[in-house]
Subunit: 162 residues, 2 copies
């Protein structure tokens, strides 16, 4: 997988986090337990990135047990598969990027029936990981538009890095 592709992998939640949505698209709940899931990879969106305003931070990506085997094969994913990006602040200390507190939680959940119109995946991003701050009101536009080109990987950009 190219670096470019890996970069894109964390763009799924490329929404303006300043908008407070009253209701969560896709009717998803803030995931729990993901801190003990499989750590897929990490990316830091720094100030030089055009994504910094909405998505600046350290992106720790996790996959739930149902997703790991498919991740290693590059898909397809069984229903129940779930990815979480645990978005954290960072500080730069003597030239090193050091993880800070949580800024948000993004997820994509596989349910081929329920989310048939968006490739079988439901999407959401909560600012601060707060259930009262879902940011995605239109998953098709805000999330799936960017995932659609990855149809051959079941719409998942993240890849397994041994």
């Amino acid at each position: 997988m190219s670096s470019k592709a890996r970069l894109i992998s964390t763009v799924f939640a490329a929404v303006a986090v300043t908008t407070i949505a009253a209701e969560s698209a896709d009717d998803l709940k803030v995931p729990t337990g993901y801190r003990t899931w499989f750590h897929v990879n990490t990316m830091v969106v720094d100030k030089a990135s055009p994504l910094f305003d909405g998505l600046g931070g350290m992106h720790n990506v996790y996959a739930n047990p149902a997703a790991v085997a498919a991740l290693k094969k590059g898909g397809p994913y069984p229903n129940g598969s779930q990815f979480v990006t645990d978005l954290h602040d960072f500080s730069i200390v003597e030239g090193s990027y050091v993880e800070g507190a949580r800024k948000g939680v993004a997820t994509m959940v596989k349910d081929s029936k329920k989310f048939a119109s968006t490739g079988g995946w439901g999407f959401q991003f909560w600012a601060d990981g707060d259930a009262k701050k879902p940011q995605v009101t239109d998953a098709t536009k805000q999330c799936f538009a960017c995932h659609e080109p990855k149809k051959d990987k079941d719409y998942v950009y993240s890849t397994y890095i041994p």
Copy 2:
């Protein structure tokens, strides 16, 4: 925990990786299975860091199951506790730091009897994660000297970030 302290947490393997040691100090083996352990945190040592020559890269820190409860309490750690820093290359793509391939594997393992002279911890760092490339020949000088000030945390710098 301060950012400074978090930075220091990954300095445990501050050794010149150009030196090829014939034998591994502390008689440790390259750990396996750590990719499924608990992801403690991630740090990126960038080019501006004085540590870049020896330790540049993305440091993904994992703790084994025996260590997690103690990590959350800030120590002390039971024998069998183990930390791994999975050191990866990174590339900078449009202002984002993207994880690449493995550069090295560092570990600290708790055995209060065997490693009594270094706070109960054995240390090693393998370039490329290669069993034939251990870099630590004197754990007291190369590792424990920096860990000793953290005696109140059982010599561990890493902290739990929920």
